[in-house]
């Protein structure tokens, strides 16, 4: 178990061996050295290969978005432009649901920002690995970041593979499927039923359940996770939009900062 710490596919056993050593004041996370994180073609390729099955699932959402955009009166070109430049499914779906004549510009833009603010947190979580990359590599990769490929990238980097270009590769394939399925969805119009019938609406939740299984680090995860769970559920019931993601994540991180030097 301890001999294969460098095996990229063996994240579970390396994680479980981490928390066994307790009472150690040093940083519990294996901090990558400069040599550990690269930005190369093999990372892009791994991102594309691993990201493709997820991107196909995301295509289910893309079709749903295209259908809604069509009903809101957007043309194929307009819907495709939104998918190509915004690349954030939930905010796009909410935006076209808010769409009316005249367009409520302020409400749409403000809601988009609120729904997508969670990406700031997700991006910040990549910093332990991304600090070894150049600003161009970092910010270029973040442009194609979405929930699904962020989740895949966390899994990849936590495994210790050091493939810094993984986010870019998985983001490119996600982008292609997202834009393509949007166009399909607009043309399909009302002929396509609800995505619920094929379980496509469950893909995002399934990705995050799988990720949670991998991010679990034993006893040390319990308190921050319970804090995140409780605060996010309360916030989701009290506040509009997706503020609960930010609040849940920040509450757990803040608690960890406070109790750091117990």
């Amino acid at each position: 178990m301890s001999a294969n710490d460098n095996d990229p596919g063996d994240s579970l056993s390396s994680v479980s061996s981490d928390h066994a050593v307790d009472g150690e004041p040093t940083d519990p996370v294996k901090t990558p050295s400069d040599d550990d994180v690269t930005f190369r073609w093999d990372g892009i390729r791994a991102g594309i290969l691993t990201g493709t099955p997820i991107a196909i699932g995301v295509g289910g959402y893309g079709i749903a978005f295209g259908v809604l955009a069509n009903q809101a009166g957007l043309s194929v070109a307009e819907a495709a432009l939104m998918s190509a430049t915004v690349l954030a499914g939930a905010s796009q779906i909410i935006a076209v649901e808010l769409w009316a004549d005249p367009i409520p510009i302020a409400a749409i833009v403000a809601t988009t920002f609120a729904v997508n603010l969670r990406y700031s947190l997700m991006g910040a979580a990549l910093q332990p690995w991304f600090r070894h990359l150049s600003p161009t590599q970092i910010y270029g990769s973040l442009l194609v970041m979405a929930d699904e490929n962020w989740a895949l990238t966390m899994r990849e980097l936590k495994s210790g593979s050091g493939r810094g270009a993984f986010l870019l590769g998985s983001g490119i394939v996600l982008w292609l499927f997202w834009v393509g399925s949007t166009v399909l969805g607009v043309f399909a119009g009302e002929s396509v039923g609800e995505p619920e019938r094929y379980g496509f609406d469950f893909v995002l939740a399934a990705v995050f359940v799988a990720l949670a299984a991998e991010l679990w680090e034993g006893k040390s995860s319990l308190v921050p996770w319970l804090v995140a769970l409780a605060t996010s559920i309360i916030a989701a019931n009290v506040l509009p939009g997706r503020w609960y993601i930010l609040i849940g994540g920040l509450a757990a991180a803040a608690l960890e900062v406070i109790r750091h030097d117990r």
Partner: protein, 116 residues
């Protein structure tokens, strides 16, 4: 162009490539705030000195964000979604394959929704 001859949406096909300047403007504004949201967090973290304390907070962030996304979503679901989430967990633990776990979860949710 339109393969389904019965679609009454004649307005869609001729205007498929039309770009209303106002709509494009709204989309650009959405793009700008989304890009700010995507790059803002890491930009901020890179500007400041990250202490060991803050690093401890950042360490729990990935898992906490995942739970914060998942918690309310599952809480809003029903037994079908909870059962399918359990299927994903079990397949993940048994196989460590994200693809298998996803397929099992999606099939599971369809099956549970039909039964429950």
């Amino acid at each position: 162009m339109s393969t389904a001859g019965a679609t009454p949406l004649e307005s869609v096909v001729p205007s498929a490539l039309s770009l209303d300047p106002l709509v494009v403007g709204v989309i650009l504004a959405m793009t700008i705030v989304t890009v700010i949201a995507k790059v803002g967090g890491i930009w901020f973290i890179r500007k400041i000195e990250v202490s060991e304390r803050l690093e401890a907070g950042l360490t729990v962030l990935p898992g906490a964000v995942v739970i914060a996304v998942l918690g309310p979503e599952l809480a809003a679901g029903g037994p079908a979604e909870w059962g399918a989430a359990g299927v994903v967990l079990v397949v993940m633990w048994k196989t460590e394959s994200i693809l298998l776990a996803l397929c099992a979860g999606v099939l599971g949710v369809v099956a549970f929704r039909a039964v429950l």
